[in-house]
């Protein structure tokens, strides 16, 4: 089972920093994530929420018990001298790959759990703080199953539209929004759903101006969308057939990045490469077609450009080969790279421009980005 997680955020109107912070990481087969809402808005809230989220994530990553870690944070978070309320609130999530999840919330709105189109109300244990009588945290132990969804949000979502709607959007309004969306798009991704929630919350506000920082985190358990990218010729040419068969028998989506690689697979699998009339180029080599393969592109130049697109603040998806490759990456959950280790002597010709990268390096950069920025599961196999 794969856990698809994503977060969308909107800053408070007229502020230039997010006051909520979302951090997550896949580590040792687990998924850990923290959503923290800092007191106030702007830079102050940003610092408070980032500190809380970063500390909690470090605690969880180091293998601390989530309840213990959250208790320590709850008991030690300072109180604002002016407003006499805590500096930040948080929700922490720790899921293992078998679906067991432990969730702790302190101060944030209660999360929403949806299974088969119904909202479930999970049981929780409440632990009061030993140092601050007004603080308490809710602890949930749940078992996630394929198809389950969890929605976490900051109070900017549930309190959006105060004044426009009598009591704001509230939890009930949010549930209605999500349910209606799920009726029309039952398999919506976490990325789209969290963006949708944030947009709805913002549009509920008067003049569409967010009065607080808005964040929504969506978790969706589903069968993983696997993909395989074959790039570079295998080091030992006699193994070409073995790897070509592995590629052929892979059940998910497939891409080939590399002209020579495409030629090898075409030869071994007896599938012709078709080169259609080029449409958009943008100075990049064109895309080719092979039956049974979702995407065939050139190697190094396309991968280098795709890496730049992934590194941009918002991933670039356009018509050229690199844009299509980025789209291919983002539509997968588990991305497997098969990287041929054979060197193309021609690429080391001193007459070539220096922009040319070494394949292993560029794959290393891309897989790091996909893992850390886009929270994908990535494996790299050198062949």
């Amino acid at each position: 089972m794969f856990i698809d997680i994503d977060c969308a955020q909107q800053k408070k109107y007229n502020q230039n920093a997010y006051g909520d912070c979302f951090l997550s990481k896949r580590t040792q087969g687990r998924l850990i994530a923290v959503l923290s809402d800092g007191l106030g808005s702007g830079i102050k809230a940003n610092i408070l929420s980032c500190m809380t989220a970063a500390m909690l994530l470090k605690f969880l990553e180091a293998g601390s018990n989530i309840q213990k870690a959250c208790e320590i944070i709850m008991n030690s978070l300072p109180v604002c001298q002016v407003r006499k309320i805590s500096y930040s609130t948080f929700s922490a999530i720790d899921c293992s790959s078998d679906g067991t999840a432990r969730i702790v919330e302190e101060g944030n709105p209660q999360f929403i759990r949806i299974r088969n189109g119904e909202v479930l109300e999970p049981e929780c244990k409440i632990i009061a703080s030993t140092t601050f009588p007004d603080r308490c945290m809710r602890i949930y132990n749940i078992k996630l199953e394929p198809g389950d969804r969890l929605i976490f949000c900051s109070d900017g979502v549930t309190q959006s539209g105060l004044g426009v709607l009598k009591l704001g959007l509230r939890r009930e309004g949010l549930i209605d929004l999500i349910m209606n969306k799920l009726k029309t798009k039952p398999d919506i991704s976490s990325r789209s759903l969290s963006k949708y929630i944030v947009r709805c919350a913002q549009y509920t506000e008067a003049d569409k101006k967010a009065k607080d920082d808005i964040s929504a985190v969506s978790i969706y358990c589903r069968e993983p969308r696997e993909s395989l990218i074959f790039t570079g010729p295998p080091f030992h040419a006699e193994n070409d057939k073995i790897y070509a068969d592995l590629f052929k028998n892979f059940s998910g989506k497939k891409a080939i990045c590399g002209g020579a690689t495409a030629n090898i697979l075409s030869r071994e699998l007896n599938i012709p490469i078709e080169n259609q009339i080029p449409l958009s180029s943008d100075n990049l080599p064109f895309v080719s077609q092979m039956e049974g393969v979702n995407l065939v592109t050139e190697g190094i130049l396309t991968l280098t450009r795709a890496c730049e697109y992934l590194d941009a603040p918002e991933p670039v998806i356009n018509d050229n080969a690199a844009g299509q490759l980025v789209k291919f990456f983002l539509e997968s959950d588990c991305i497997n790279f098969m990287v041929g280790a054979k060197l193309n002597q021609a690429h080391y010709d001193p007459g070539l421009p220096v922009e040319i990268e070494i394949r292993k390096n560029i794959i290393k950069k891309i897989s790091k980005l996909l893992e850390e920025k886009y929270i994908k599961k990535v494996t790299v196999q050198y062949i």
Binding site: G258, G259, A260, G299, N344, I356
Partner: protein, 84 residues
Amino acid sequence: MNNPPKIEVRICNGTSCCLMGASRLMKLFSIIRRRFGCKADVLTAACLGQCWRENNKPPHALVGDEIIYNATVEKVIENLESKL
């Protein structure tokens, strides 16, 4: 009467060729279609596999079954005309 088979022109789309100016050869798409529309076809190729050999300066193009090294628009047209 049957028309003779069209001559196929392929422009290599591999890494070395693209770096060394294959994009300049893309003009061939419009030129060949306009001038030799019924006698020649022009396509790209994933990689013509010539970069593995020494002393073959990219970019490469294939006219019929002849490889053209260090290809330019003029060289390809000249070669194509000699074959027609």
